[in-house]
């Protein structure tokens, strides 16, 4: 078992889905899982009110990768878009799957 891995989680308006996945892959994520989500945050209405729901994107990545993704998402999207991001350590087996 190996605990150098993190679950990198992003909840954002649906619009950003493809961009965020691309960003994650660029930083080295090998896979991801997406669930539909609705929510409320600090912002008032956002386009997703009309266009559809939020997405929650999760990717099991290496520690360092998570840090880089977290930073890039904050830099690029926090100002203008409805998005939050966080990460937490997880234990996996057969770590080669995520590298």
């Amino acid at each position: 078992m190996d605990s150098d891995f993190h679950c990198m989680t992003v909840v954002s308006e649906r619009l950003l889905k493809d961009d965020i996945i691309e960003l994650m892959k660029e930083e080295g994520a090998k896979g991801f899982s997406i669930t539909d989500s609705v929510g409320e945050g600090s912002r008032g209405v956002h386009a997703s009110d009309w266009e559809g729901r939020n997405v929650k994107i999760e990717s099991i990545v290496h520690d360092e990768t998570a840090k880089r993704i977290l930073k890039r998402i904050a830099d690029h999207y926090f100002e203008d878009y409805a998005v939050i991001a966080y990460t937490y350590p997880v234990t996996v087996v057969r770590e080669q799957k995520f590298k």
């Binding site: 619009l15 008032g44 209405v45 386009a47 009309w50 266009e51 100002e79 203008d80």
Partner: protein
């Protein structure tokens, strides 16, 4: 007057009202999202198909002028909207063009409501009207979005926004439906017509029930947007609508056709435009543009606007 009253007694408008009331009394009524999406695919494809079948029977000569006029209106209306927002409303450049993009485009449901209203009056617009919806949907958005980009105020990607609007589901379904309808022709269309024609009005009732609930959420934002935008959301449709009526009659449309064109031109998009604007101008505030187009102009048009345009078109036609 009678016609106006009869509009308020139409199941479609009443369902819209029921949707608003359901939200106001905090009912748990909810049309599941997939149903809503399925209905909107159905409605768009249906008007495309019917338009295509009609187009297959229209000589190009008859269609050319109205097509050009629609294109022209699609370029003009975002500019007038922008000017009014910017210089009368003192709204900043980014938000002004965001809102202008919505009024340059078109609300397919307003179009459908106009068609239905005229049917109830026993009038029929030209069969190629859905093609005009497709022509009107895109240019206005592009024109409006180019304004801030020319002055380097755009932070998002206009290329992505363009792709979004050109390949958006409403364009694909409308244009696709028109092409299918035109190729298939009347005989082949017959087998699918019970589904796409007979069921249409009823499906519209369900759709407007949901739209009423969505609108009700917007109504709560009315105070946030301030009085200028409320006046804008009623006055500008009237201006654009009356103009479109006049031009429609000039290019040879029937009274019904000109009225429907007016409904289209005056309407504000709330599907294609918000998506494109969110991409191209992420810093614009969605509360403004969604509330204006969906919370003010849409309810105005389907209750008072459409009967008004028909009335105006009838009088214009009498003068001419």
């Amino acid at each position: 007057m009678d016609a106006l009253l009869s509009n308020f007694a139409s199941p479609v408008v009443l369902a819209f009202a029921l949707g608003i009331i359901a939200r106001l009394v905090r009912s748990d009524l909810e049309l599941p999202r997939p149903i809503y999406q399925g209905l909107s695919i159905y409605l768009l494809l249906a008007i495309g198909l019917k338009g295509g079948v009609a187009l297959s029977q229209t000589p190009l000569s008859q269609f050319a002028l109205p097509g050009l006029a629609t294109l022209g209106l699609g370029i003009l209306t975002p500019l007038t909207s922008y000017a009014i927002l910017r210089y009368l409303g003192k709204i900043d450049r980014v938000n002004a063009s965001a809102i202008a993009a919505h009024y340059g485009s078109v609300s397919a449901v307003t179009f459908i409501a106009a068609i239905s209203y005229l049917n109830a009056l026993g009038q029929t617009a030209e069969g190629f009207m859905p093609t005009l919806v497709a022509i009107l949907e895109v240019p206005g958005i592009i024109v409006a979005l180019l304004i801030p980009y020319r002055s380097n105020k755009g932070k998002g990607s206009i290329k992505k926004a363009l792709h979004e609007v050109l390949t958006g589901s409403s364009i694909v379904l409308l244009v696709g439906g028109v092409v299918i309808g035109a190729i298939a022709g009347e005989a082949q269309f017959e087998s699918v017509s019970p589904f796409f024609v007979a069921g249409f009005q009823g499906a519209l009732v369900l759709f407007l029930l949901e739209l009423g609930m969505t609108t009700a959420k917007r109504l709560g934002d009315l105070k946030k947007v301030g009085p200028f935008l409320i006046v804008f959301g009623i006055a500008v449709p009237i201006i654009h609508g009356v103009l479109a009526t006049w031009i429609g009659l000039q290019v040879g449309l029937s009274v019904a056709g000109a009225s429907v064109l007016a409904a289209m031109v005056s309407s504000g998009s709330y599907i294609a435009a918000p998506a494109a604007v969110r991409i191209a101008l992420p810093q614009a505030n969605p509360t403004y543009y969604l509330t204006a187009s969906l919370g003010i102009t849409f309810p105005f048009n389907i209750t008072l606007g459409i009967p008004l345009y028909v009335e105006v078109a009838t009088r214009f036609a009498a003068w001419m």
